[in-house]
Every structure is written in C-alpha cells, then in structure tokens.
Symmetry: D2
C-alpha cells in the first residue's frame, strides 16, 4: 500500500539510507508542459538544512526524472523518478540496530515485518515525503493551468497561534520567513519559540493551515471518497500528523445550525454562499468556494536529550541522539501539505471527468 | 467510488426515497458464525425514532441478508443485503425539487451530476449510513472473536464537553441514556441542551470519541494507508463530520516532545508504553495499546425555522421544513462511528496477513 | 474480488439457491435515459427454459432496480439491483451436500473456504452471470448512444464450425434460431448436434465469436490493462470459458509478418487499415477498426449419465443428475459475452476521458 | 494503469529510449532472502543479443535495486529498481518522428495521447517487459520456497509445432537451445525456420506453453479474478500476444463432456484427478493439479524489408528499418511468460491468506 490516488497515482519507494528514494506517477494527463526547475524549487522547500530552525542535515535532494516527460511535455505515460540518498552516515545508526526509540516506528515495524532497516528510520523516515513533493509539484503545475492554487502556511507552533482568518492574511508572505507563517509578528514569535525549544534539546508541535482557491464546483465523490475524506486520508499520511479538520472543523462541535449554515447568494449567474463554514465542500463535493483545512502535527519524537528506552530484547538502554533533527516539523511540513493537497485535487478533477459521457 | 476497504470491502447503494438501500460486503472471511439479531440490534441503535432527542421518522430498517451466509456461517462469498425504504412521504418533498437547501448537498450534486433525486436528500441522506452499520456489525462480530472491541460514545454536545479521559469512564454505560454518553451527569446536560435547541428550532454540533481495545501490534501500512489515515478517511466519510484527531490530536500542537513521547516499559515478555499519547499507533502501525480518536460533527443543517434560500434557477425562496429531523446528529452517529471503525480494523487485520508468506 | 472494472464497476453477489442474486453498478455516467424493458430482454436471452436445446429450468429472472435510476434517467449514483431466486428445489440438492462433482467447483470451493453452499453450485453456478447481463445491458444502451455496437454469436458447436469471416455474415440473423448462429445452415447442424448429444446424456463445447463496431481509436491502456487483456480477463471470468483470442489470434502463430501486417490507408481525413489482422487493437489501444475475438467454451461438466465420483470424505459414490441442465452452454453464453464486452468497452471509454485535462 | 496485481503489485515505468525503465514492486512478503544474481540471470534470458535468432541489439540490462532489500532480505517495503537505457541510437529514430509503422502502436498512441516518444516505440517497446522480468524473478524465488515451480517453453514457431504433451517432455532441456524448446528435434527445425524467415527479411509467430507445478489447491477467486482469468490478463499484456487458452483450451470446443470431465481419484488422503483437462483450475480456483496454458504470439510487425506506410499527416512514405529486430518474438517471450505467471501465482497465494481469519 505504497500507492496514493485513483487516477493520478503516486507509488512511492525507498528507505532513507538505501540507494535512493523515488516513485512512479501514473495517470498523468498527456501533453502538459512541465517546468522541471519548479519541481526542484518545491523539493528545496522541503529539504533539510534550509535554516537555523530545521535539521542541519545536508541533503541536496536532486530529483532525476527517468520517464514520462519528453521534450518538456508529459507523455501520458508514467513518470518514474529517483532522488539519490547522498548523505549516508550509516555507522551513526549502528547503535540503533537493536534500539526502539520511543514514539517512533522502530518497534511497530519490527513487530509487523520481523525485520527493519534501522538506519535513520528506514521507510518510516520523513525523507520519504520528498517523493510526494515531486508528485505534488507536477500536480500543482497542472492545476495552476486550471486556475487552481494551493497555499499552505504555519498557523501554530506550540502555544503561538495565528488566530486570524486566512482571508485577512497575505499568503504571498509565507515564504518570507523560515517558519512559513504569513504574519510577520507571529512568525517572529514562532521562530523564537522553536529556537528556545531547540536550545533545550526539546521539540514542539504545531498546525499547518491550507487554502485551495479556484476549485470548480462538482469535485469529489458522494459517499466514500468525499473530497474532505480524501484530504484527511492524505494529510494523516504525513509523518507526525495527528489531526485534520476543515471548514468550521472542531469548532463546529460547539455551535448551532442557525449560526453555521452557509446561505446562498446569487452573483449574476454565479451561485455563492455568504459565509463558508462548509469549507468549500458540501456532501463531499466542492461547491466552488475556497477549500480550507488544518493539519495538527505532534512534537517530533527525537529529542536532543538523553532518553531512556529499551532494546529489541527488552533491556533498558540510554539513548543520546546526535544533532541534525528538526525541533519542529511544521515549517518543512508546509510544502508536503501542499503536495498532498495537489495530488488529491488533481485526482478529483480527473475522476470527475468520468461523471458524464 | 461507493466502495470502502481493500480486503473487507463494502459497496453501498441507495437513495433515501428509492426502493431500497443496501450493499455488498466482499472479502468476508469464511466459516464465521454470524448472529443476525446482533446486526439488527446495531441498526436499531442508528435508526430514527428511538427517543425524544432524535428525528421522529419511523423507519423500521429491517435488513434482509440475500447471500454469503449459509446455515448461520459466512461462506467467504459476498454478503448482499437490502434495507427497504418503507416510510415514503415523497410528496412532502415535491417543493424540494427545485430548492437548494443551505449547507446541504442539493446544489453540489446538481452541479456534479446535472440531475438528482431531490426526495429527502437522495444519496446524500444520512440514511445511507444504515448500510455501513450492517457491514460494521458483521465486522464487529468477527473482531470480537479476536478479542478486539470497539466502543464509541458522545463526548461533547455543543458546549457541554466530557473532559474525562476514556480510561476513567465506564463505557458499558453508553447505552443507558439516549445521548450515548457514559457519564450520567454530562449525559443529562447534553440531553437538556439538545431539547432546548430543538425547542428553538435549531440544531447543535458535537463530538464522538471512540476507543478500540485488544488490537494486536502490527496492523496498518507504513506510508499510504497508515492505520490512522484509514480511520480519518472512514470517519470523514460520515455525514456532517468535520474533523478527526487521534491520540494527543490537536492538543499535541501546543505540546513539547519531552512531555509527549511514550516511553517503553516491559511487562514480562510484553512491551508496552507508560503513556499513550500516540493513540495506539506509531508510524501508521498499531503498537498494541488502545487506539482512541475523536470525530467532530457540525450542527445539522436542517433547521426547523423558516430559512431563506434559492431555487435552481437562482430565485429567492423561503423554506420551512416540517418536523422529523435530528436536532443533533451525534447520538445516532455513535453506532456509525463504531461500524466504520470495525470495517477499518478488520480490513487491516486481513491485509496484515499478507505481510508474511 | 467480486468487483469488475475500474470506473464502470459491477460488484456481484449471490448464490444460486439463496434468497437472491444481484449486484451494484458503480461509476454509471449521469443523466442517461435507460430503457428498463431492454434490460429484461437481455436477461431473457440468458435465462434457462428458452428452447429445447437449453436447460428446462424455469427461472423468470425478473430484475428489480433498487437505486441509481430516477424518473428514467441515471443519477450517477450506484445502481443496486436484485434478481430473486424463485425456482428452489433445494431438497433435490441434499444428496450433493457431501458430493464432489467431477470438473465442477465443489471440491475447490470446499478446499478454499472450508464451507460451501452445495445447492446448485452456490456461487459457482452460471446463474451468477445474470447479474453481469444486467450491468452489460445498461452499458450497451450507453454505448449505443455513442455509436458503439456489440454483436456476439455462436461460431462453433462441437465439430460444427462456421468458418466464414464475420464480415460475410448478417449478424442481425443471430436471434432467429435458438443456437444463436447467424448462418442458417450451420445453425441447423449445430442444433441437430446439440439435440443428439443431449439424447445421449452428454454435453458438447463450442465457440462464441464477438464483434464490436464503432469503437473510436484511443481506448485502452498501453502496458497493463491493454484493451484486449481486459477483454481476455472478462471472457475468462465466464463459467466454462477455456480460451480467448482476438484478431488473427492463435492462427497468427503459424503466419509471417509480411502476410499479417495491417497497412494503413487514408480515406479522406480518416486513417484506416487495409486488413484487420490486429483485430482493431494495436499496442493495447483501439485503432478505430472493428474489434473481434473468440471465446472457447468447454463441454458442460454435468452429464445426464451415471457418473462415478467421490464424497468429501473420499468415498466412492455414483451420481445421477436429474434433468434440467444445458447440453451446450454456448447459446446462452452469447448474451453474457456481449454483456462483459460492453462493460469492458464502456469502462475504457470512461477511463480514456482522464487522459487529457 | 501501469500497475499489475492486487497484493504483490508491479508498477512499471519507462520509455525504451528515455533515461531508464524500471518499476516498484509493492506487497512483497517480508524477511525473504533474495538472490540478486538470479534476478540478473532471468534478465539475461530476456535480453537482446543472446544468439543469432534474436535481435542483435546490445543491451546490458543491469538492474539496480534501490530499496526494499536490506542485508539480503526483503523488508516488506516496496522494492524500487531501475534498468538504465544504455544503448541509445536516438538519431536512428528521427525518421520515425512522423511515421506510423503498420501494426505497431505509433498511430494508436498518437491518437490517445496526442504526443508520443517516437524513439524505438517509446513506452510500447517490448523493452518494458524487462521490468516484469525483475518482478517475476523475485516472485519466482519466493514461490520456489513454497515448492511452486514455473516452466515455460516454445511449443510452436510458424508451422513447426511440438504436439507432445508437456508431461512427456524434459523441461530442464528448455535452456539448452536458443529457441527454448525442450525437444531437440523440434528446436532444430524451429531455429532453421527462424533463420530462414530472417534471411527473407520476414518474421514469424509462435506459441509459448507454460506449466506450473506444486500449486496448492484453493488459489484464485470464484467470480471475477478467476485464477485463469488473471493469467489471461497477464499473458495478453505481453507485447505481440494474441491468444490464451488453458487446460483443454480451444480444443475443448469440439469435445464431449463425457471425454473431458476429470474424474476424482483418492491417493491416500490426497484427492487428485485421473486426467487434467481442467488445467489445474476448476471454478477459477486451483485444484492442486498442474496448471498449464498456452500463449499465442503474432509475427513481429517490424520487417526487414521495405514497407509502404503513411506519415502522421497522411502522406505515403517508404520505410526501411535497419537491423536489430527479432525475426520471432517467442524465444525471448519465454522468460516474460514465466515472470508474469509468477506474479499472478504469488499474488493469488497472498490474497488467499485473507480467506480465513
């Protein structure tokens, strides 16, 4: 189950310290011009070593496209790609061979498979998300031609939360700071908090918000495969994600119907809603308003402190991880959220084409 | 996309005012004794007309099993079933033919399909969830034989929230009150709130919490199809659901790694964790601890007040819905949450059998 | 795995002597007028008891559509349907409970599932194909609106083979005789052979040929899911089918490239081929020429003679099946071949819509 | 649709003259030792340039495994692999840019996608089957541990047909001659025929037969996904395949039930059949006897003669292909047939594990 999507599908492979990670993107519409540099730009947003607040690992994360693009345009055939794993310090991980790190996947992988690549988390490493960024970057380019844009940003780090509605923010500011928060004041506080947490050898959680504009009405499926269910599935597949809500979300639990229903208004020929508590989706199908949702991330489980844990034979051991880990996953999760969103929306666009003959 | 699951799969059909709803359950393990009365009991938990706080519609919701069970045991072949739609008042709905109710799926279905069954919401009616309860009831029986139990309950209605940890509750009390809240005091407040809201012609949202015990370690898939992503997909496919989180969930966004990592402890041969902020899942794979999660539901969009809306030709109209609607969807959502959970867990149990040869 | 198709998908259920058989058709394009009487007509072509050369069982095979069609048009939602099993003589089958009939699925089902419905073959009965005829009849109606027509016919019964090319036949004659062979002379010989074989308590095999006209170029998938591979999968899923070939087929094995390549010709703007040894498919994708293929059926394994076999405890027993079995499956297989073909082609039409955005 | 299989799944990518071809194998059982040299051996069986009777192209076809195998054993995670395309003579193909070769996929790809990689057939090149050989070689190794063996061989080239039953052949002799025919006399005749045809600039068709021994009873699915339907789908996905039959196959069409039913015999506790006209599969499920089937291949469409054809603007042109093409595809198809068979059987073994809980 390393495939995501129905029509536009990514099949991902790779352990963090194997020869390479990569994937195959199937169901790509044919004849579309692809800007390869833009794919690399998205990868660079996700890559470690960008700033002081993320892991210091140096991974160049250069993607090699192996097929499916010919003379700059998609062939409609699968796009195979790899990203080589350059920065091996596998010996660093030898002490991990028999160690179960708390709140990581070491133990669960071992139980499930009876074997695991213990180096750097193997398949469970967040490095795997680079493959998603590639598939998402291509999807984003295709969606942009349809006028659909996706913008995610950091809306909370620890107890520093950006309460402003996304409509009051200038989302073009997101990339102006390393936290990826479009509000400068909040960004400064978040950055300060991350540095403080880092200096304590600790980590902190946060929230990524995401907005999709320009989505036509009619995308999504009515029962299983509701558009928001696909988004939830996509978001919860990202490492460290613990929750998802859309539109009024969890806040709606304490509200009344009379204050939350979105009344229709007619704007010439166009039908809109006065408010958008529905988050752009009604009955699982997009209604043409903006889609917006939130993804909660837990604090990274790798602390830069001494931690007591157990070995695979059940003995106590003390673990002291060396540097190069993110004190907060959220800034680097922003492009991954966008990538997974792009895959979901493009898949829905393509699937919707089969509604009529 | 009316199929859910990989191995244990429900394909659902039916409009609320057509001849019948129903489904086909494929991938059912062979040779398992099934108690048909228990399936009906689960359906009765979901059915309208149970109490003063739910819709007064009378639907007997009798399931007819048509195949796949022979002399009381599963054949391993698909279980086809139908639930006839007995309580037709289709004429009541004639005024709905050209009406788009706010925050319903009338408009989005019309845009997507160019046609819709306007009677009672058609395919978008929550009546469809009865089919899931059937598939879930069978899954629950199978899981129970493996020692896996699923218990959902109402943990919030409007601003009445049950803050207690599930471990401090007696979940066998859930069915003792119509709200399905295991805490008697909270249940009374929730019931009072629902009745108050109902008397105002309004509706209110809430939260369902769910706990799965007895899950073996090793279920779930590492990248796409993480166990919690499957649960999120399942939960967000339920009508009116707006959010999902598991383990520490959204609360984890404001926490530190040092306070949230679940340290391992050895209990003889068994490996456990001291705390369970992970919610029983690490790296997408169950770790043997309890799985727990929350599902947020919005207030039902059908108010018993006059509402101004538009017709499909864009004209203003006033809508006054007659009785028989739920003021709060949460109590009746509890068995649906359990059903979808059972399907996800059983599917994961079966899929995990293919990990080794 | 009781689902067939990617977009237009049939999920089938039912044992031959349970309450009903039926299915759910998902992915049906929305807004299409459906003639329910035509569906019944197709079912009547498949139904037992039509003539002296098929089984004498009386099954009325009335289909009940339960959802997905509203005021005569498809809703785009799943079409659920059932066909009740009226003609139960289950006691007739009590002696079958512990018997493994030779060349039937009794033994293999028992080994696989550890349980089986022994009455009339249960799930392995050809009665299941009635569900496919329903799904195929709907697909046929949809395809007809696109100018795509499907015509199957009996081209061989035992050693009576119709060697004529399909282009020299008048396929509108197929339904004029019970054998469903468009050549009257051959039809007479086939009928005589079937009656002779029947009088001997024996059975005989045969071949169904099928032609699809009006298929646009571009349908099918390049690697897996080649259009002819889909057809092969579909045809070999029909009871008693033993082989499939298309275009020049097995005959091509003894031929040279120079005599088989289909040279292009231009007919105004249109590109055609002079010959059609390719059978309308090149590289897995339709080229706009007629698609034609053959399906070989074995002689039915149920003889009306005394047969020695074994019980499920390995004891020898003598089996004498009472009447009501087909001496030759081919005439009733003709509508099933058409139905499966229609499902494959419609699925390909819908999937092809996702090739471009 | 570049994915094959349900549990053990190959997703293939690559154009023949792009950077590389390759694939991702998902659903691989965990903890199995894999002999990488054996994978290469299988690739070498398929590779061009082995002998005088196949294409003279030099492709080293070295596979690089990128993930999923760790310290010699499968991790249960996806196996990503690539085979670089070393032997580019892309300029040779410039004249092909606007040319539609007869009975190739040039025209159908162009119609479907509106774009194609014209170099060497691009995605439609038989080079793609190298990826299948990799996935099949791994499947074969896993199956061998379960006592399941797969042996394909050339049973016909042109009109030189090997009529002997496979049970009378010594299948270990298959690799002793370049034709891959286990009967030395027939092999000599086949080889002579291929050389004669080659000298004429022509090509010739043929048949590959395949036998699977050691298959346990119970594999396969009862309705869709019958074991032989999966095999048919797999075989018809191989380039140039035109037909498939199994067991008595097309010959059964002219036979009687009384001469073809396979009577049961008890061999101690074991149940067998006296004859095996069923080809080891009854009702879509394996019965424990040998599975055997045939695959018909057409003569390769690339002739080494001058051929008249058209350009993509409909103009007549004369095509003279330079060397390096197979005069008969059959010898190199043998390992591909085995590979696809191995994938189907392993997939069925894994899926069957979900039949019981």
């Amino acid at each position: 189950m390393n495939t995501f999507g129905h029509i536009y599908r990514l099949t991902s492979f790779g352990e963090s310290h194997g020869a390479a990670i990569g994937g195959v993107i199937d169901g790509v519409p044919a004849g579309i011009e692809i800007d390869l540099a833009e794919i690399q730009t998205e990868l660079d947003r996700r890559r470690p070593g960008q700033s002081a607040i993320v892991t210091g690992r140096r991974e160049s994360d250069r993607v090699k496209i192996l097929s499916g693009i010919f003379e700059g345009r998609t062939l409609g055939t699968p796009i195979g790609f790899i990203i080589e794993n350059a920065d091996h310090h596998s010996n660093d991980y030898e002490t991990m061979r028999h160690c179960y790190r708390p709140s990581h996947a070491d133990y669960t992988y071992q139980v499930k498979y009876g074997i695991r690549d213990h180096r750097g988390g193997g398949r469970s490493s967040a490095r795997e998300t680079a493959s998603r960024v590639v598939a998402g970057a291509i999807a984003k380019q295709i969606l942009k031609r349809k006028g659909i844009n996706i913008a995610a940003y950091t809306s909370q780090v620890g107890d520093v939360a950006l309460h402003a509605d996304y409509r009051s923010l200038d989302l073009t500011m997101t990339e102006t700071n390393p936290v990826r928060c479009p509000d400068e004041t909040a960004a400064d506080k978040m950055e300060a908090l991350i540095l403080e947490v880092k200096s304590q050898g600790d980590t902190v959680g946060g929230i990524v918000s995401c907005v999709v504009t320009g989505v036509p009405a009619g995308l999504g499926e009515p029962v299983f495969g509701k558009l928001h269910a696909r988004l939830a599935d996509a978001m919860l597949s990202i490492n460290a994600a613990k929750g998802f809500d859309y539109g009024m979300g969890f806040a709606g639990a304490s509200m009344r119907g009379s204050e939350t229903i979105d009344r229709f208004i007619c704007d010439g020929d166009k039908i809109h809603t006065e408010t958008n508590n529905s988050g752009g989706i009604q009955g699982g199908i997009s209604n043409g308003e903006d889609i917006y949702f939130r993804v909660a991330f837990k604090p990274v489980a790798t602390l830069l402190q001494e931690v007591t844990t157990i070995t695979d034979s059940g003995e106590r051991m003390t673990l002291k991880v060396k540097g190069r880990h993110d004190p907060c996953v959220v800034p680097r999760a922003v492009p991954v959220v966008e990538a997974m969103t792009a895959m979901v929306i493009l898949d829905a666009v393509l699937l919707d084409k089969t509604t009529h003959i």
